[in-house]
């Protein structure tokens, strides 16, 4: 499940979210994050390889934005929703009492 790995990393998720708001260059992203430009570039490469992000040269600048095809990003997003939800579910189900007559409502 590619999306899970891609957006499971908090820095990559932060980059993904920044790009959702505004297409940006590596430098612009680095200004908003506590990491170096080269670290930003590495994360962008992973996001690009995963199909979530595309880039385009504009003069001497390279602008990164979310893949407008959207499908891959949608899937990756839902993937993250389920990963978190199932983790939370596992904890709750494990902790729930075995008493079969436990009715809260």
């Amino acid at each position: 499940m590619d999306g899970l790995g891609l957006l499971g990393d908090p820095t990559r998720r932060a980059i993904f979210e920044l790009l959702a708001r505004r297409p940006s260059t590596v430098g612009e992203l680095a200004q908003q994050l506590p990491i170096t430009r080269s670290a930003v570039s590495q994360h962008l490469r992973v996001l690009k390889d995963g199909g979530l992000v595309v880039s385009q040269a504009e003069g001497t600048r390279r602008i990164y934005r979310l893949n407008p095809d959207g499908v891959t990003a949608l899937r990756a997003y839902l993937d993250r929703v389920w990963a978190e939800a199932l983790t939370a579910f596992g904890k709750t189900a494990q902790a729930a009492p075995t008493d079969p007559e436990q009715e809260d409502q």
Binding site: R13, E17, A20, G70, L78, A85, A88, F89, G90, A93
Partner: protein, 160 residues
Amino acid sequence: MTSTPTIPPLTGTLTIDAPAEQVFRTFTDAFGSWWPAEYHIGQADMATAILEPRQGGRWYEQGTDGSECDWGRVLAWEPPHRLVVTWQINGQWQYDPDPAHASEIEVHFTADGPDQTTVTLEHRHLERLVDGQALRDGITGGGGWTSLLELLAKATTNQT
């Protein structure tokens, strides 16, 4: 009818040290107790989410202001083994009542023993969500898809 290519389904599996009946009940009756509250679509903060325990039942969230937002419907109710629900939310984060735009979530609860259950989840027909006009407009126009992502961004920021 549609030319949208199939999107591979999402799958997830986890094993829980509890009987299948209990695991099924936690997933359904107690849905609101474990679903991460940041993943909701209503304007108001989510108070809880409810999965009605019957075929044809509603799956919806209740906001802290008492408002309700539908997420989908129960297609198959087979305790404690199997559950199928639809997830029909468009690019504006709104319920789309058209069944042709409904994705499906199928969950199997398999007893590995008296006190161990494997839960397998599949979220499929994601292409039907993309077929929905609102989601397509959102993707091509930037509006809905952006607002969806802003919601994601907001949710994540609130978390940290």
